[in-house]
Symmetry: C2
DNA sequence: TGTAAAGTTGACACGGTGTCAATAGGTGAT
DNA sequence: ATCACCTATTGACACCGTGTCAACTTTACA
């Protein structure tokens, strides 16, 4: 419980975060150490390896940004359509917060099993959110009859991927608001029964 | 023009290709050399670095699979809707062919500017195909009036990304045919004016 | 005052890419 | 025939980033 060590730990996490936010590419352990004001080796006293550090950083961001509270809103919705809308909004607006860390984590996937696992877990959690929204849509009888619940979940999950956000917002230069509203209309027009364009 | 050297070159490319197809992850220069039956150093006589080798491999696949002929079909379509359909079909069915190399190339993006550039070029070419299809849709007056040509192109390009294929086919286990028909209905319902679900 | 935790410096192994030098063998032109 | 060239070989090595280890110092606190 010594405030000492835990201070250093969060200083490391904050340093990692801000480095990833800024330059984004090729952040090395030594860069992070320097930014946190400790030696490179001391980093390994707190995190066994780079993957664990990145994972801890995402969790740190989650707690700072209070992801749970944001998603709670969508679970509180009473109808399936409201829930879908709330979920899409909440998640789409959360993507930019974790984007920079996600880049680093995804880049490690190919070479590091632990990083791959961590990213996969996160995505499965998102998928779970998608599945819940779809399920509620189905019980309301509002799910597009061409789609099974599973297929609809796959589709929703795919549309809401970080990679799609990356492409539209970062590569194509869309405004975040434009992205969100596009995703809302896209998902609702695909998932909700008998929906043509507004 | 010595058939000798050029034989080795294609042997290298074939070896790279088949290695990427099989194990997919962490294919090293030494692995490729071994598979091609030459020394690791000799690889560098043919390709200056790993990025160039991967790029050459994609081009080799393109020529073997005759990507131009496949896409020519979509350019031959007379109406915008036919063209969109043909383009989506052709590209979606081409993705599996280049997928394994794309994984390797994308994995290098973070660390290697040349690989990033090469992947980007390829994707811009795909975007060009999307733009052409959208343009023809627009001249036919069939483009969804909610969308500018640019926005429609962005959307189409995003939907047809390799990453989305990867998620649906590899992660979610969709059959290729299911993926293609989903993409066809998804793109047409989003891009074509006044389209509800079939 | 002694112990433990947290940190320091310096050195090193490992894996993978890319480079270099010295050498060998086959091919083709003169 | 021989010279030059091209392709290939072996072996060694530099560079980079991660992760590890050992020896030592500083700080906290009981």
């Amino acid at each position: 419980m010594s405030s000492f060590s835990s201070d250093t730990r969060t200083r490391i996490l904050e340093a990692t975060w801000s480095l990833l936010e800024s330059q984004a590419k090729n952040v090395r352990m030594s860069d992070i150490a320097k930014a946190a004001g400790i030696s490179r080796q001391a980093l390994y006293l707190h995190f066994l390896n780079r993957a664990k550090l990145l994972v801890a950083t995402t969790k740190h961001i989650d707690s700072v940004k209070d992801v749970d509270a944001r998603l709670a809103e969508s679970r509180a919705a009473t109808t399936g359509m409201e829930r879908l809308d709330a979920f899409v909004t909440a998640w789409c607006n959360y993507i930019p917060e974790i984007y920079s860390v996600s880049v680093a984590l995804r880049a490690m996937r190919a070479s590091d099993a632990e990083a791959a696992q961590a990213w996969d877990n996160r995505m499965q959690a998102v998928r779970q959110g998608c599945a819940s929204a779809v399920a509620e849509l189905a019980t309301d009888g509002m799910l597009n009859p061409d789609l099974s619940e599973n297929t609809a979940t796959d589709l929703l999950w795919t549309l809401l991927s970080v990679e799609n956000w990356e492409r539209l917002v970062r590569e194509c230069g869309w405004k975040q608001a434009q992205y969100v509203s596009s995703m809302k209309s896209l998902t609702s027009s695909e998932l909700i029964m008998g929906n043509s364009k507004s």
